[in-house]
Amino acid sequence: MSTQADPAQPAEAAGPVRGRVDQAVVTAPHAATAGPVALTTAGLTLGFGTRTILSDVCVDVRRGAVTALIGPTGSGKTTLLRTFNRMNDRVSGYHRKGDVLLDGRSIWHPGVEVMELRRRIGMLFQRPNPFPMSIMENVVAGARAHRLVGKAGMKDVAEKHLTAVGLWGAVKDRLKDSPFRLSGGQQQLLCLARALAVTPEVLLLDEPTSSLDPAATQAIEELVRTLVPDITVIIVTHNLAQALRVADRTIFLNQGRMVENGETRQLFEHPAEEETAHYVAGRFG
């Protein structure tokens, strides 16, 4: 659907690529995945109550790359993702063995301040979750909470990050409005801008496009590619085509175990494990 830009259509519908949606805009550079490790899990076993969700997971996440977490429903991919920024800590009955290292240091180390950890490791959720405040306040909410920006600098920071996600043009005249009147895709972009405004080093995306339409999905995918290599991105997706489009590396989880971790194209085309081959083939038909 290579269309010419419709002048009547507001720019936000097409996302960050102003008004133009080309078919081959997303180019996942499957090369250049070398680099130091940002996140490591060491024998991570985790569960809630009597249920064990993850067992003995050991994975490395490369810095500056997009890593996809794939696997069937209930394989523990979202749980693993939410462990990276310690969102599971307060779930009742939570228990854990093993460790997660960020830059070589345990994220549960007593010296680690969980709020600072979460500033460094941002997150985008399955459904957009704007706060009950104006659009501008939403973008700077986290930055304000961390005192990264004073009252005077709010507008600049908001403009910078809204521009970065391609939303500025659509909302610049209604920064004081409620975010709940934006479309679902725009709300998700707003949440992305909000997450970027605290200058994270790692960004966790939990099926960020599962509630969005194809155009908004494409906008988010394009944005994700622009984040690397400055930010390390980990994306949970049930959409293997999406993993193939955006991810440099892919981790396949099944029933709480890490089955395979490798370069995306390698994993899809020449999987090392039979389980992976079976899953990938089954999903792609």
Binding site: M87, M115, R119, M123, F125, P132, A141, A145, C191
Partner: protein
């Protein structure tokens, strides 16, 4: 309970042959109509009662409204006139004792001030308690505290008044207020906290006691509201690295803000109309506008209670008519507050406020 026989008779007509209702159908339909008709009659009663109360008070107080005029709202005299060996005076079509003069300014100011103190105490305490219950307490403990709130809401106001007048009031008058009264600087606003601390009857005690009484309304409604906040925006705040305090202040509470405002206004309505607890702790000063927070004073409801014995002595009935005028003022204030609370909450957040004391 009382409708059980009715319901049974409706059911019995059908119960023997629910599978073949055709022969019974007509009787059933007729009985269903009876239920509906009775229901409609019953349902109109609260509305009729409301209108009736308003009309009765208006008619009863009309002579008082005419005689007292607008001075009723601006003066502080409270005098039923000469009661002994005096003939009633007839002025402007109204019978009253000679020298009768009524100004409700102390009552109105007292009502507003006690309720203000109650809100200042109850709102932060209720919201803090609600947040603790939802976010911090384990489920068992949370429901235990819930029972506690329900019990607190159910304690009769005469018992709260007894506690306030005989224990709580004297306690703060001996141990707390003297310290404050002596040490507060004599500057505007704060000078309201200076003066003779008194014996524990007065504005401060009444306001605090009212605060205790409206806490369960605000706290339990806020708790229910906070429980309804979806997890997703809260997780969003936590994932951004906000602290719990920031999440509560910036996301959770704004999310249900209008509902909390409604709950607060509902509590205000109760504080404005509370009688016994205030009547027993206010010190009954019918003509005093409080000069500091320790002075004895009165409220509309407290005067309606405390002044009644004297009012009956007025052979012309004018004093009782004045009480009716007080009642009308109180009724209008509380109705406006109540309707405003419900309108506000329904318009913004689509939830229903609890009824009455919120239990």
């Amino acid at each position: 309970m009382a409708s059980a026989p009715l319901a049974r008779s409706v059911g019995e007509a059908v119960a023997p042959s629910p599978r073949r209702p055709a022969p019974m159908l007509r009787a059933v339909v007729r009985r269903a109509d009876v239920v509906r008709w009775l229901g409609r009659t019953g349902a109109v009663i609260p509305l009729a009662a409301l209108v009736f109360i308003l009309v009765v008070l208006l008619i009863e107080s009309l002579p008082a409204i005419r005689y007292n005029g607008l001075h009723f709202f601006t003066t502080t005299v409270w005098n039923e006139g000469v009661s002994y060996n005096a003939l009633p005076v007839h002025s402007g079509g109204v019978y009253h004792m000679s020298g009768a003069a009524f100004g409700a300014l102390p009552e109105i100011v007292g009502t507003l001030l006690t309720s203000l103190i109650a809100l200042i105490v109850a709102v932060p305490v209720s919201i803090g308690a609600a947040l603790t219950i939802v976010e911090r307490l384990p489920r068992r403990l949370a429901s235990l505290v819930g029972i506690f709130l329900e019990l607190l809401a159910g304690i009769p106001s005469v018992i709260v008044g007894l506690f306030g007048a005989l224990t709580f009031g004297p306690f703060i008058a001996h141990h707390i207020t003297p310290v404050i009264a002596r040490n507060v600087p004599d500057v505007p606003v704060l000078s309201f906290f200076r003066g003779q601390p008194g014996s524990g009857e007065g504005l401060l005690t009444s306001g605090l006691v009212l605060g205790i009484m409206i806490i369960p309304i605000i706290a339990s409604t806020t708790r229910d509201l906070v429980r309804q906040v979806p997890i997703l925006p809260r997780e969003g705040a936590i994932a951004l690295g906000m602290s719990d305090a920031q999440c509560a202040r910036r996301v959770t509470l704004p999310w249900v803000g209008p509902g909390i405002v409604g709950a607060v206004v509902l509590g205000l309505g109760r504080a404005l109309g509370e009688t016994m607890a205030v009547a027993m702790t206010c010190g009954v000063a019918l003509s005093t506008v409080p000069g500091n927070i320790y002075t004895t004073m009165t409220t509309i409801a407290a005067t309606m209670f405390n002044y009644l014995d004297t009012a009956f002595l007025d052979g012309t009935g004018f004093a009782v008519r004045t009480i009716a005028e007080l009642g009308l003022v109180l009724l209008v204030i509380t109705m406006v507050v109540n309707i405003a609370a419900r309108w506000l909450v329904r318009r913004v957040s689509g939830i229903a406020l609890p009824v009455g004391r919120g239990v």
